[in-house]
């Protein structure tokens, strides 16, 4: 195995010390991205990237650099960025160039972060394997025959392979945490409302939340500092005082109560994953934490509720892709109805069409109460379960996914099998809580396993603290894929 690529923190220090320039870092990252066979990027635009890098260097030269100015990263192709093709992984938006910046993009610009490219993803963030991208599947750098997870699969693969030190992701039902787990990196989904959704192409509005993905918890904290904050253009954004998510990183874990939900390490989890998660928990106990059992009695209904609510919102959110104002329009049609039908049938992939159909069905007259309202009730019960659990513990821990990354094509024939992989993640979005995935070991075929840490509302700093202490005591996060030749080419930059 080769040396671990540099972290955000290390690159930031080098940039500050003048040891390297943003242009040099961007050039290296671009080279790696172009040489990579992972298909982690949908769009690379070296001119734009280098312009951003030059702007970052100029900012530093003028003495106005922030802590992350000049750091390269991959932007999930779901955040609208002015001048960048923004596809959301869909043919529907195959030629859509965003005319405005998402709030996350604007904040990244203000911080001087340099966009290396637009990370591949499942179409409209619908998927758990990144096989639903109209721009082709992404491969897992730990095993090119396996999926990187999804929907933020391109982001996870690019970070794991050392192409970039960090990436943005979005998480509606696990789309940051599960690919982070599958690719052996760290990723955090903040409390709903902490990161603005303005300009982040909507999948399921009440569940979507952006967040950072990087090698370490510390890097995630630094990036979250740049991404988070109230935004008046997002009515669901929370008005809170700015906080430093890195402030508690070094806090000792003595007395920390870690709740493990009943049944979360039972038969529903593959033995290799169970063993790695148990290792992680044991490590935290060594660091002073105390393990307690908690109960989430309604968690078993989370997948069902999620696959009602998310498609319901998606069916409405995706109505705007009608071929009228932008996006794909069928070449030939005889009337308006046919224009809609053909444009949408051609523009959307199979999984997106499936979820639109499901969502339309559950919102229909006569079915709304039985499905949508019932799912909302489940949602409240799950939130109540968590509230009760957090009376007895400070942080909840468990697996992210029941297995390590599976083979490409292994689950594409049976969508329900794919959905069941979200058993430990969707409930967190339903409750709106923060959660992260941090590497805790390796399982079958040497594939990485992530430990999920779930916190109470606004406990991001605490979660990152726990993950950081774990990462100080272990080296799982420093391991790189067996064939990291691509990464090594410019890893130290």
């Amino acid at each position: 195995m080769s040396a671990a690529p540099a972290t955000v923190a290390a690159l930031a220090a080098d940039l500050a010390a003048g040891k390297v320039s943003a242009v040099e870092l961007a050039t290296g990252a671009l080279k790696r991205a172009e040489a990579s066979t992972l298909n982690a990027f949908i769009t690379l635009d070296p001119d734009r990237t280098l312009a951003e890098a030059r702007a970052a260097d100029a900012l530093r030269a003028s003495g106005k650099a922030g802590p992350l100015t000049g750091v390269p990263f991959a932007q999930k192709d779901i955040f609208c960025a002015e001048g960048w093709r923004t596809t959301a992984g869909s043919k529907m938006l195959g030629d859509f160039v965003a005319p405005y910046d998402a709030t996350v993009v604007a904040r990244g610009k203000a911080a001087g972060l340099v966009t290396i490219g637009r990370a591949n993803m499942d179409e409209f963030a619908m998927g758990s394997s990144n096989e639903n991208s109209a721009f082709g599947a992404v491969r897992n750098p730990w095993d090119m025959a396996r999926v990187p997870g999804g929907s933020s699969g391109g982001s996870a693969a690019a970070v794991a392979a050392g192409i970039v030190p960090a990436a943005t992701g979005t998480d509606t039902g696990g789309s940051i945490r599960q690919p982070a787990s599958f690719c052996g990196i760290t990723g955090i989904k903040p409390t709903y409302g902490v990161v603005s959704r303005y300009g982040m192409i909507a999948y399921a509005s009440s569940l979507d939340q952006g967040g950072p993905m990087a090698r370490t918890a510390q890097d995630c904290a630094l990036l979250l500092n740049a991404m988070a904050g109230f935004d008046e253009r997002d009515a669901t954004s929370l008005q809170r005082a700015p906080e430093d998510y890195a402030r508690d990183l070094e806090r000792p874990l003595d007395g920390l109560r870690i709740g493990v939900p009943t049944g979360w390490l039972g038969d529903g989890v593959a033995p290799d994953v169970r063993a790695a998660v148990e290792d992680g928990l044991a490590q935290l106990e060594t660091l002073g934490a105390r393990r307690v059992e908690v109960s989430l009695p309604h968690a078993q209904y989370a997948i069902a509720a999620y696959y009602v609510i998310a498609p319901a919102e998606a069916s409405s959110n995706l109505s705007r892709y009608d071929g009228v104002r932008y996006g794909h329009r069928a070449a030939q049609y005889t009337d308006l109805a046919e224009m809609y039908a053909k444009s949408r049938a051609e523009g959307f992939g199979a999984e997106v069409r499936r979820r639109i159909l499901v969502g339309t069905y559950v919102l229909s007259a006569g079915y709304y109460d039985a499905y949508y309202l019932k799912a909302q009730q489940v949602r409240r019960l799950i939130a109540q379960d968590f509230a009760a659990a957090f009376e007895a513990c400070d942080v909840i821990a468990g697996p992210v996914a029941p297995t390590v990354a599976y083979k490409l094509g292994e689950k594409t024939a049976d969508p329900v099998q794919m959905y069941l992989g979200d058993v430990f993640t969707t409930l967190v979005n339903l409750a709106g809580l923060p959660a992260l995935s941090a590497p805790c070991g390796f399982g079958e075929a040497g594939m990485p396993v992530g430990l999920q840490l779930i916190g109470d509302y606004f406990a991001e700093a605490r979660l990152l603290n726990v993950a950081h202490r774990l990462q100080q005591a272990t080296d799982h996060h420093l391991k790189t894929p067996p064939d990291a030749s691509v990464a090594a080419a410019g890893g130290a930059a």
Binding site: A202, S205, S319, R320, V324, L336
Partner: protein, 485 residues
């Protein structure tokens, strides 16, 4: 058909465009008449990733309306998505309120009919809710294609829904007029019906007395009071004919064609959309606390009913006059400013002038009273000179006309400059009378023969000779004394 055997039931849904500067969920301007799509921002165009943010000014206007009709202002109301596809509906859904509207209940008093047949009635409202308007589809001038203008998309609307309590087109029109006056009075809508700021949908059904409600048909998008009346009258006749011919009424949405005066089917119940309403996850519930309601109340003008009652008490006006003067807030304000300048003793003449000369003159030039060329203090100046006999009512109209045309700054300046002061000096009038008598021997003879008409002709001649400046009463007296003396 025999309409007398039928009862008519009408409910109205009115879309009132709220006069906010920017749109209901975006910062784009709401001004009418811009180049197509120049007032549609990223949010209005429903670009990927954009989000709606509630315009607080639209909420305050909804609250003001609720207060004006004595409704319940919901402390928590919910925005929902109404899903359907149409090219001028950019998001593929309209943000509206469905289960929990912001304004609930309330009522509006109406006066229906004229003279002996006039009666008053109170129309109960079901609700009023906030929603966004759609854009416009343009089907002409595009040669087989359609144009989409999204300037109107996202314009704030208050949809005001009555109970099915009106029983004739006259009641429906009286309600629509009262509502129209009210929303302009409280300043939440410009009332411009040509530009679509105030549009009515009428739900009409008929039944035989004692029977349950008949099946209704909804007439969409009536943008004048005349069309509202014509459409309802046609629809009533049509429904009665259908039933009397043995048909049943099918629930439907219809359009009124002003050219033919008929309604025609737009879509039947079978074609009705399933709108798949659900709470909009992009917008938190609209929470309105009592302090906000109080703040809106403090900024509201006195309501028309209260002002009408006050005019009767304070100024000794008749109910009718007070009602006329409070037909619009601008008229009422103009009147009160005249009285403030002229004194309360001049209230009755002020009322007559505002409803008479001022209204007629404004009408003729299609001007609004707020931009009347004759200001309230100027009119008060005219009234003062009539009151102290400086000028007659006839001359007063001349002075008013001169003020209207900008011939002088004040009544006094014009009277002075144009020498319009009433002549009350008998020694100045007597020579004129003598001349007139000498020049009209025939009239004098007729008068002496007992023809009173001839006297009036002579008065007219004297007034004319004095160029209107003589006091008519004085001319009368002097002339009669001379002829009879």
């Amino acid at each position: 058909m025999s309409a007398a055997n039928w009862e008519v039931v009408i409910g109205l849904e009115t879309h009132v465009q709220l006069s906010t500067v920017s749109k209901i969920f975006s910062g784009a301007s709401t001004a009418f008449g811009a180049e197509p799509n120049r007032q549609a921002c990223a949010v209005d165009m429903a670009l990927p990733g954009v989000l709606p943010v509630m315009n607080a000014a639209a909420v305050d206007k909804a609250i003001a309306f609720g207060l004006a009709i004595g409704a319940h202002i919901a402390p928590r109301s919910v925005f929902a998505r109404k899903n359907y596809f149409y090219p001028d509906l950019p998001k593929g859904y309209q943000i509206s309120q469905f289960e929990i509207p912001v304004v609930q209940g309330g009522s509006i008093a109406i006066q229906v009919g004229e003279g002996d047949k006039e009666y008053s009635k109170r129309v109960e409202l079901t609700r009023a809710h906030l929603e966004e308007d759609a854009g416009k589809s343009l089907h002409e001038d595009f040669h087989g294609m359609s144009g989409i203008d999204l300037n109107r998309a996202g314009t704030p609307l208050l949809e005001i829904v009555t109970e099915p309590v009106m029983t004739s087109s006259a009641e429906a029109v009286a309600y629509a007029r009262a509502l129209h006056a009210l929303v302009m009075w409280i300043g939440i809508c410009d009332g411009n019906m040509q530009e679509g700021s105030f549009r009515c949908d009428a739900n009409v059904s008929v039944r035989r007395p004692g029977e349950p409600l008949g099946t209704r048909r909804e007439i969409k998008n009536l943008n004048s009071f005349r069309f509202l009346q014509q459409a309802i009258d046609y629809e009533i006749r049509w429904q009665i004919e259908q039933i009397e011919d043995g048909h049943t009424i099918q629930q439907a949405t219809v359009l009124f064609d002003p050219d033919s005066g008929e309604t025609r089917m737009m879509r039947s119940k079978e074609d009705a959309h399933d709108y798949r309403y659900f709470p909009d996850p992009d917008l938190p519930p609209l929470v309105i606390d009592p302090a906000r309601i109080e703040a809106v109340k403090a900024g509201m003008p006195e309501l028309p009913a209260a002002m009408q009652a006050r005019f009767v008490v304070d100024y000794g006006l008749s109910d009718y006059d007070a009602g006329q003067l409070t037909a619009s807030l601008d008229t009422a304000r103009y009147f009160e400013e005249v009285v403030a300048a002229a004194g309360a003793a001049q209230a009755k003449p002020a009322a007559n002038w505002v409803m008479g000369e001022v209204a007629a003159r404004l009408n003729r030039e299609e001007k609004a009273i707020a931009s009347s060329p004759v200001s309230p203090p100027q009119l008060a100046g005219v009234l003062a000179r009539v009151a102290d006999n400086t000028i007659s009512n006839n001359i007063a109209r001349k002075v008013f006309e001169a003020l209207w045309n900008g011939e002088g700054e004040s009544a006094d300046a014009i009277i002075e400059a144009q020498g319009l002061k009433q002549v009350t000096d008998a020694s100045a009038i007597e020579p004129i009378i003598d001349e007139v008598l000498a020049a009209n021997p025939q009239s004098v003879a007729e008068f002496k023969a007992g023809k009173e008409k001839a006297f009036n002709a002579l008065v007219g001649q004297v007034m004319k000779a004095s160029r209107g400046k003589a006091s008519p009463a004085q001319v009368n007296e002097l002339l009669r004394r001379k002829l009879e003396g």
